[in-house]
């Protein structure tokens, strides 16, 4: 019995696998939810970090760059432990799921901030210069020239990080988030059969990431390479 769902250990491997599938799928749901929330956090924090890193004042941009480097160079696992065990010492208590999503978001904000930066910079320098030669205002240059051309490059890159985030969700199991791997592990602890649940998790992951990668590719192909068209 787990989560009110019982499994069949005696009927052979296939029956066992079949009986634990619903339990794993509930774990999968948690995995996807955690990844989605983490992604939203990463997308927003990343934008903030990118803005700070690109700030005119060195007093802003330098610490932002250092922070970004620090986040990027330390393991998700340790960051997660830090958030989960240290923050409560200072009165900030978040449930495990939220802590996990936050940790994912923070870790990936360092990466997404680079996506924004690269996306904006890839809009050739020449484009901004041509716009400046036409005397367009900086705001208008950003909104009408740079952004529409950067977005089709940014979105697929962000999408790829969503896939990466999904693959990092199992780390949240260490703070007892019941995502797919944790569920499989618990089933294994109880049934002493790790082979089947863990293999199923691997297979489910393969399906999940191949499907979402295909989704990102589809999006990438659909987005107009030269920018969102303006008539």
């Amino acid at each position: 019995m787990l989560f009110g769902i019982s499994w069949n250990l005696d009927g052979g491997n296939w029956l066992f696998a079949w009986s634990i599938l619903p339990i794993l799928l509930r774990g999968l749901l948690v995995t996807v939810q955690a990844a989605a929330l983490g992604f939203v956090v990463a997308a927003i924090l990343g934008l903030l970090l990118a803005a700070l890193k690109g700030a005119q004042s060195r007093w802003v941009s330098w610490p932002a760059k250092a922070l970004s480097e620090f986040i990027r160079d330390t393991p998700l696992l340790v960051q997660l432990f830090f958030l989960y065990y240290v923050l409560p010492d200072y009165g900030i208590v978040l449930p495990a799921f939220l802590t996990g999503a936050l940790a994912l978001g923070i870790q990936y904000s360092a990466y997404t901030s680079e996506v924004y930066r690269a996306g904006l910079e890839s809009v050739l320098k020449g484009q901004a210069e041509a716009a400046r030669a036409l005397d367009l205002t900086p705001l208008r240059i950003f909104a009408v020239i740079v952004l529409p051309q950067a977005i089709p490059r940014i979105i697929p890159a962000l999408g790829n990080y969503l896939v990466s985030i999904m693959k990092d969700v199992p780390v949240l199991s260490v703070v007892s988030v019941l995502e797919m791997l944790n569920v499989a592990k618990i089933i294994g602890d109880r049934s002493f059969n790790y082979l089947i649940p863990l293999s199923m998790v691997g297979a489910l992951y393969l399906v999940l990431t191949l499907a979402s990668s295909a989704g990102v590719r589809y999006l990438d192909n659909r987005l107009p390479k030269q920018g969102l068209p303006l008539r």
């Binding site: 050739l124 020449g126 484009q127 210069e129 041509a130 716009a131 400046r132 030669a133 036409l134 005397d135 367009l136 205002t137 900086p138 208008r140 009408v144 020239i145 529409p148 051309q149 107009p224 030269q226 920018g227 969102l228 068209p229 303006l230 008539r231």
Partner: protein, 264 residues
């Protein structure tokens, strides 16, 4: 002689350690068509980019239409120009880049109307009429609804010229406008520029490697080397009788072709 419309006084420009413009003095009269030639890296593009305010200067003074370009008067003191002043000064000039730099996500028409509507404050309707007028001028009236990548390089460059003209600048800057084009496409762009050069109001400053073309359209040719003007004069005198050794050296490769031609 009139008051010059462009005047550079002892302009110095450095990139890191290299001095690209070395106390450059340079004047252009209103309506004059001036061609700049010179070896790669001699600072030709830099002059245009500074005039277009895409690049700052390290010292010296520049006047455009009688006003300082990179400085402004505040309480009677000359201070580095603010963005508002620069934007005002930029209105005098239009620029055509080597790589066209059209906005790839906008139709040809939108490329041309964008600035008139949002900078000059024209109505959409007026801007469209103006776009049509200049597309006509460059011979592309029927291409207004295409996107840049659907056009050939020569067509793209002509759109870029129309885009700059639509701002009605008094000065047009061309930075090697044909050097990114396949040889067969060069002609169409040159002929558009040639037509423009016959308009006497327009001041033109043109960097090019097309010597024959320079000869045809310019009132004056300036030979740049290492950030200074080595020699200048009418095309006839400069090409036929270059005085400075460096000019001769540079023009040797060029006239070689011509010599061979005359053998034929």
């Amino acid at each position: 002689m009139n008051e010059p419309i462009i005047k550079l006084e002892k302009v110095v420009k450095r990139f890191g350690d290299t001095t690209v413009l070395n106390e450059l003095d340079f004047e252009v009269q209103p309506g004059e068509k001036v061609t700049i030639i010179g070896p790669s890296g001699s600072g030709k593009s830099t002059v245009l980019r500074i005039l277009m305010t895409l690049e700052g200067i390290d010292s010296g003074m520049i006047y455009v239409a009688g006003q300082p370009l990179w400085h402004e008067y505040k309480n009677d003191a000359l201070v580095p120009a603010g963005e508002a002043h620069l934007r005002n000064m930029r209105k005098h000039m239009g620029m055509v880049f080597q790589q066209f730099n059209l906005f790839p996500h906008m139709t040809v028409r939108r490329n041309i109307t964008e600035a008139p509507v949002h900078v000059l404050g024209l109505s959409k309707h007026e801007a469209r009429q103006r776009a049509e007028e200049y597309l006509e001028l460059v011979g592309l009236a029927d291409q207004a609804d295409k996107f840049p990548r659907q056009l050939s390089g020569g067509q793209q460059q002509r759109v870029a010229i129309a885009r700059a003209l639509a701002m009605r600048p008094r000065i047009m800057l061309f930075d090697e406008p044909t050097s990114a084009l396949d040889p067969e496409l060069v002609g169409e762009v040159l002929s558009v520029i040639q037509r423009l050069s016959q308009e006497h109001d327009l001041t033109m400053l043109l960097v090019t490697h097309e010597m024959q073309f320079a000869q045809q359209i310019s009132d004056r040719v300036c030979f740049f080397d290492k950030g200074v003007i080595v020699e200048q004069g009418t095309p006839e005198t400069l090409f036929a009788n270059p005085v400075e050794p460096r000019t001769r050296e540079f023009l040797k490769g060029v006239t070689l072709e011509a010599t061979v031609e005359q053998d034929a």
